[in-house]
């Protein structure tokens, strides 16, 4: 079923991932045209202060479904905060976030079913096995059934570890399971906070492939990362954050910056020749 964001009215009703959607997900589907549809995420002068330290300062942009957006920036430049805000875990101090037309802090309930978030901490329970953890979340998201759990485990190559307790897994594999948890219900908005950190090369490719599949099926992936080298190859669009401000927006336009010119220039250059 084509996951299409209807462009009319403020409240864009999202089509719900139906029960049997899991299987046909990989079958090629038309790429929703990014221009006319209502943006999946709209940030307007988003500011977030922890105590008095501004983590994010009036970030505003619009992101459409069907693309991978890389978020780059130094440590403490507000990347994770931006991700948590989009996931509805934090409440913005000023400005507002709209995910698929729903105002996030208040109407988060409607949108939570369509958001997948995998952060730094592993949101799993060590004493349970992988199978139990994932089936619990499958039940939570309402797309119950062993089918989905096996499918997502298989996709990330974790099928044979299903019976192991999370405690016995290595950090990298735990992170994979966490990503499986986030993508279990086929979310329209996938938020990944440095997913490739602890992974070996094989696992990295699996995750990148999974991100590409999700992008092809029309969902938006916000990917926070450090390796700017891989960004050019994978991301359709880049957001550069420096000290809480959005430096580079849209494909390559530069706002005001004192971000080290070299990295930015090389990055934009790569973006230019790739899209040209």
């Amino acid at each position: 079923m084509i996951r299409q964001i209807l462009g009319k009215g403020r409240r864009a009703p999202l089509s719900v991932a139906s029960e049997n959607d899991g299987l046909q997900e990989d079958v090629g589907r038309t790429q929703p045209s990014a221009t006319d549809a209502l943006p999946l995420i709209r940030l307007q002068q988003l500011t977030k202060r922890f105590g008095w330290i501004p983590a994010l300062q009036d970030v505003s942009c619009e992101l459409h479904g069907g693309q991978i957006v890389a978020i780059l920036g130094a440590n403490g430049s507000g990347k994770s905060t931006l991700l948590k805000l989009c996931a509805g875990l934090l409440r913005p101090s000023e400005g507002n976030i709209q995910v698929a037309g729903w105002q996030l802090p208040k109407e988060a309930a409607q949108v939570r079913a369509h958001i997948g978030y995998a952060g730094h901490e592993i949101f799993l329970d060590e004493s349970f096995t992988i199978q139990e953890n994932l089936s619990f979340f499958a039940h939570c998201y309402g797309s119950a059934g062993k089918l989905r759990v096996d499918h997502s485990l298989g996709r990330l190559g974790l099928a044979k570890f299903a019976e192991l307790a999370v405690r016995q897994l290595s950090r990298g594999r735990q992170q994979l399971v966490d990503i499986a948890r986030a993508t279990l219900h086929g979310p329209e908005l996938l938020l990944l906070d440095e997913p490739l950190n602890h992974l070996d090369v094989v696992a990295e490719d699996v995750v990148v492939q999974m991100m590409k599949d999700a992008r092809d099926s029309g969902s938006l992936i916000l990917w926070v990362t450090h390796e700017s080298s891989r960004v050019a190859a994978i991301a359709d669009r880049v957001l550069l954050l420096h000290a809480g401000r959005l430096v580079v927006d849209e494909a390559g336009q530069v706002a005001e910056t004192d971000w080290p010119a070299t990295l930015k220039a090389t990055l934009c250059q790569e973006m230019m020749n790739r899209s040209a």
Binding site: R91, A108, A109, R112, I115, E121, F123, F136, C140
Partner: protein, 223 residues
Amino acid sequence: MKITFVQAVMLILRRDLIFDIRNRQRLWIIFLFAILNTFVFSFALELQHILRREVVVGVFWTTILFASLLGFERQGSEGSRQRMSQAIKLAPLPRLAIFYGQLLANWLITLCLLLFTVLLQSGLFNARLWHMDFWLASLLGSLGLVTIGTTLTTMFSHISVRVGVMSVLLIPLILPILLTCVRFTLATQSELPVRNEWVALLVLQDIILLILTSWLYPHLIDE
């Protein structure tokens, strides 16, 4: 299709119970403490000499209060439970479903604790605690205790707090319920006519508490 409210509550309830059964430390702490507390009181008050049923009632409720207090303190500070509460917040479950799920889980454990302590203490002090109204009082009293306990546990699972803060916070809130329970069970013990105004008072408190905590719970969870 979203899961219904009751399904969500059952889900959280099953999850919490399995979690507690899986790592049994919390249960061990609660039940062992109940036994220890009983012995401390029996030695301290020389219970076998004074055949006073009132004292036994007092000892019973103190044991219940402190044993479940230790359970809540432990639950509040468990690392894995804190991470899980974050994950559950992400899922599209209605906020109150999470609260009632944890509430029911804690309530079941407290009821087991009640049963265990009644058997233990009526045996040791051969006081006849098996009074019908006694069970009513314990049921309602433990509901109130658990409501406040779960609220504070949720609060503490978001912040890592040193030991002891939970008891300082929980006991003042529990005093009215404890007062009513002790007086109600006193009436059952000393063949005085059991006035049903005590039951009404307990029910009233439980209802007010449930309404209050249900209204305050979303503020606890969401930023």
